[in-house]
């Protein structure tokens, strides 16, 4: 059976390249379901140990036992890419999954966000994450479980706080403020200043001022803490940077999820339709699986209150290909992320055809369908995706006694933080920062409040 799958894989790949898919080689591997679940939980095949993954693992296990989740594949971009498929999948399922994976591989090699992130993590995140895990295990041996855990509690709680725009590798802040060139409008003065010997009077050293830290609002909390925490050990900084590197890898996976899944569905359909080497029965079984994956509602229901990203992504891509052709679709795939994809390509017609609706849910669980407004609907679809899915929090300043001042940008998020949890996170952060940590946000009524540890 595996031989057969291998044969199909070879032929599907040939077909894919003929269709213009352009991807790094992919290592396919059949693995037990238990391993699939772990990979899904950790996000990477080998990742640092932390108790919170254990909790997610149990949830996944329960879901699986209850039959609510079926993990067909997990794929990791890179060169080579790696794809894991459940060894319990049928041959038809794995044939479909193989084609699906090729779509993902094409996407991750060509999409701008993915490319940037892959360049930064060197196309080998799987190996790097394993190396991080090893280093952290070593740290546990040297410094003890609870000390390492304390650092991971903090670093993983801030997992989403990176700044993808400033990149993975970035220089430290300049030590001194940039000297403001004095505006000299007077042409005489200009010439006078240019005279040799006259510079003594304006010696720069007197004016060089220490730049504040940070010189601007800093959103990459992981980077900031790793480099500017006053009292951290090097091994602790190392853990922060390890978590940060993995976050840079996860960012495009998160920010392009809808596009990426849709693209993979588009290609598994296209490739399978063209794959005349597949027996008819197997093709039909595979297409049955396909329709299960991209269906909008669970079971017999006629209404869903969540959107299946496979379904929506697939529908939008199909529409784009139909209206504008595959070449334009490829260009969109290369340039967009979920934000621009939804805003530009979820059209009025498509929304109507898919019967999308926007609703308001009150605290007591009442759901009221709202009047149709496409712009508002698009934003509701995207609301969970902003800022890596986390509230906007930045470092505002670091005071001379080492106090860390964080600010929650409640104007952007339109409300304050859950204070119980915020306090807990501040405690984690204080555990590594070791000087006072202060956070500004607003309470339920919108009055500004300050939380401080200690």
């Amino acid at each position: 059976m595996t031989d057969l799958l291998r044969e199909y894989t070879k032929q599907l790949e040939a077909l894919a390249r003929k269709q213009g898919l352009n991807y790094f080689p992919v290592d396919f591997e059949l693995v037990p379901t238990s391993f699939m679940m772990e990979v899904a939980v950790y996000g990477l095949p080998v990742r640092m140990p932390h108790w919170s993954f254990g909790v997610r693992y149990i949830y996944q296990l329960i879901q699986h036992r209850m039959g609510h989740s079926h993990l067909f594949e997990v794929v990791f971009p890179g060169n080579p890419g790696r794809a894991f498929m459940a060894d319990t999948n049928s041959l038809a399922e794995n044939t479909l999954v193989t084609a699906h994976v090729l779509g993902h591989a094409d996407f991750s090699r060509n999409n701008a966000l993915f490319r940037k992130s892959q360049e930064q993590v060197g196309y080998h995140i799987v190996e790097q994450a394993a190396a991080h895990a090893r280093r952290i295990s070593e740290a546990i041996d040297v410094h003890g479980q609870s000390r390492v855990e304390k650092v991971l509690d903090a670093a993983l709680a801030l997992e989403q706080y990176i700044d993808p725009h400033l990149g993975l590798q970035r220089p430290l802040y300049p030590l001194y403020e940039e000297q403001k060139s004095h505006k000299v409008s007077d042409p005489f003065l200009q010439r006078f200043r240019a005279l040799p010997g006259s510079e003594m009077a304006h010696d720069a050293s007197a004016e060089r001022r220490r730049a504040p830290i940070p010189p601007h609002r800093e959103y990459d909390l992981l980077w900031f803490i790793a480099h500017y925490a006053p009292l951290m050990d090097d091994w602790e900084r190392d853990i922060f940077l390890a978590v940060r590197e993995e976050s840079f890898y996860f960012y495009p996976v998160f920010a392009c999820q809808l596009m990426n899944e849709g693209w993979a569905c588009l290609w598994h359909t296209t490739l399978l339709r063209e794959a005349d080497f597949l027996p008819q029965g197997l093709f039909l079984d595979a297409m049955k699986t396909h329709s299960d994956v991209v269906r909008p509602y669970a079971g017999e229901k006629q209404v869903a209150l969540d959107i299946n990203p496979y379904h929506l992504g697939f529908a939008i891509w199909s529409e784009i290909v139909k209206e504008r052709g595959i070449d334009e679709a490829r260009t969109i795939m290369e340039q967009d992320d979920d934000f621009s994809f939804i805003r530009n390509h979820l059209t009025e017609e498509l929304a109507e055809q898919l019967k999308l609706f926007e609703y308001k849910k009150t605290a007591d669980g009442e759901i009221r369908v709202m009047d149709h407004d496409l712009d508002s609907l698009r934003e509701s679809l995207l609301v969970k995706k902003f800022n890596f899915g986390a509230p906007h929090i930045c470092v505002k300043s670091m005071q001379s006694d080492g106090t860390l001042l964080l600010r929650h940008e409640h104007e952007t998020d339109h409300r304050g933080l859950d204070l119980v949890r915020a306090d807990k996170v501040l405690n984690y952060v204080h555990g590594v920062w070791r000087r006072p940590v202060i956070l500004h946000t607003v309470d339920e009524k919108g009055h500004s409040i300050t939380r401080a540890v200690p």
Binding site: R6, P80, A157, Y359, D418
Partner: protein, 391 residues
């Protein structure tokens, strides 16, 4: 390229077989549970309320409902209205109801359950383990058994005999003998008398290690429920600790107002009575019981007296005499002054009495109990003082 790829296909598969043997998810889950256990041990007192004070707890377990630990993140505060996008047959203005009974976020600013903080599961803890953790936590000494002055006879198994009482027949040994015999003599008789082996008992003299613990409780109307809880908690832990030290522990429960009665344990904690407090009657009762049943030569005697500390002033001398008499026989007398919800301006008459006795070098000590924390302090103090006395 595609050849290399195919080679990897089988290559990686062999290398990565380890995942069948090792689960990271399970490892991190166990670590999570370990952390829960750590957290639970910090809340031990709450677990104790349902346990009997004197019962033996070997192999007994308590089930503690615990929540999964939540790894906290920054999240936005709860908002009255959330927008979402759905799909299907629905018109503007349609209203649907979801069951938010369990899924909804905590009702009033509690914010402690949502998503991952979710379900509870039952953690089963062995009472003996709890006690072990607790001893570690408080860094308490494991005391040596104190021996009484009287030696007692003890029978232990030692060796075998070919004759003996039927009840002590050692079947395994007997069978072995039969097998040996049949191997040597090649005769197929299943058992003969020669095969029989009986366990032999040998009499030893050994010092006895018995103790009796008196739990005395003031049940006058001034003792409120919380006071009793604290007292019960102290009794429980003190008994658990002493149990590690003595082979045999007997318990005596004495309640008093202006009279004193002996009770069984079940009754003891349910007794309520009206009236004032005359402590000396309890001490007299304890002295009587000692005289009748617990010879100080044979028993190590501990007495714990719990009261809110107010005693009839006229009873002071009688109480003093009673305590002095007890202290001659007892290894230790503890006074648990329960003070829940009370503001104390000056030491109570009873605690002054105990302080006086302590100054006179008698093995007594007073412990104020305001809240559960104080029980730990008192327990710690008691066992450490015992260890010091031992040294």
């Amino acid at each position: 390229m595609s050849d290399r790829e195919r080679a990897d296909f089988s290559g990686t598969r062999k290398e990565t077989q380890w995942y069948g043997l090792f689960s990271r998810g399970a490892r991190d889950w166990l670590r999570h549970n370990e952390k829960i256990r750590e957290a639970v041990t910090r809340h031990l007192p709450d677990l104790v309320s349902d346990l009997d004070v004197s019962g033996s707890h070997h192999n007994r377990t308590v089930r503690v409902p615990v929540r999964f630990l939540e790894h906290y993140r920054f999240v936005l505060g709860h908002s009255r209205e959330m927008k979402g996008v759905g799909q299907g047959e629905a018109k503007p203005g349609d209203v649907m109801q979801t069951d938010t009974g369990k899924q909804g976020r905590g009702n009033k600013g509690e914010g402690s359950d949502s998503g991952e903080g979710g379900p509870e599961f039952l953690l089963e803890l062995k009472v003996d383990d709890i006690i072990d953790w607790f001893w570690e936590e408080l860094n308490l000494p494991n005391l040596k058994a104190k021996t009484g002055t009287v030696e007692e006879d003890e029978y232990t198994r030692e060796g075998w005999d070919k004759r003996g009482a039927r009840a002590r027949l050692d079947r395994r040994r007997t069978l072995k003998e039969a097998v040996k015999r049949r191997a040597v003599y090649q005769k197929d008789i299943p058992f003969i008398d020669e095969d029989l082996r009986y366990r032999q008992l040998v009499k030893h003299q050994r010092p006895n290690t018995e103790a009796v613990v008196f739990c005395c409780l003031d049940v006058s109307s001034s003792m409120i429920e919380d006071d009793r809880k604290l007292a019960k908690s102290f009794f429980f832990w003190a008994l658990q600790g002493l149990r590690r030290q003595y082979r045999q522990i007997e318990t005596v429960f004495v309640a008093h107002t202006i009279e004193a009665w002996e009770f069984s344990e079940e009754e003891f904690f349910q007794v309520t009575a009206h009236g004032g407090t005359v402590a000396s009657v309890a001490f007299r009762k304890a002295n009587e019981i000692i005289d009748q049943r617990y010879s100080p030569e044979r028993y190590n005697i501990y007495l714990f007296y719990a009261s809110d500390g107010e005693n009839f002033p006229q009873d002071r001398d009688a109480a003093l005499t009673g305590l002095e008499q007890l202290a001659q026989h007892a290894n230790f007398i503890g006074f648990l002054e329960t003070l829940t919800g009370r503001l104390v301006d000056s030491p109570s008459s009873m605690s002054r009495l105990f302080d006086l006795l302590q100054l006179n070098g008698l093995p007594v000590r007073a412990y104020p109990l305001r809240e559960q924390e104080d029980v730990w302090t008192a327990i710690g103090g008691f066992f450490r003082s015992q260890a010091d006395a031992e040294a």
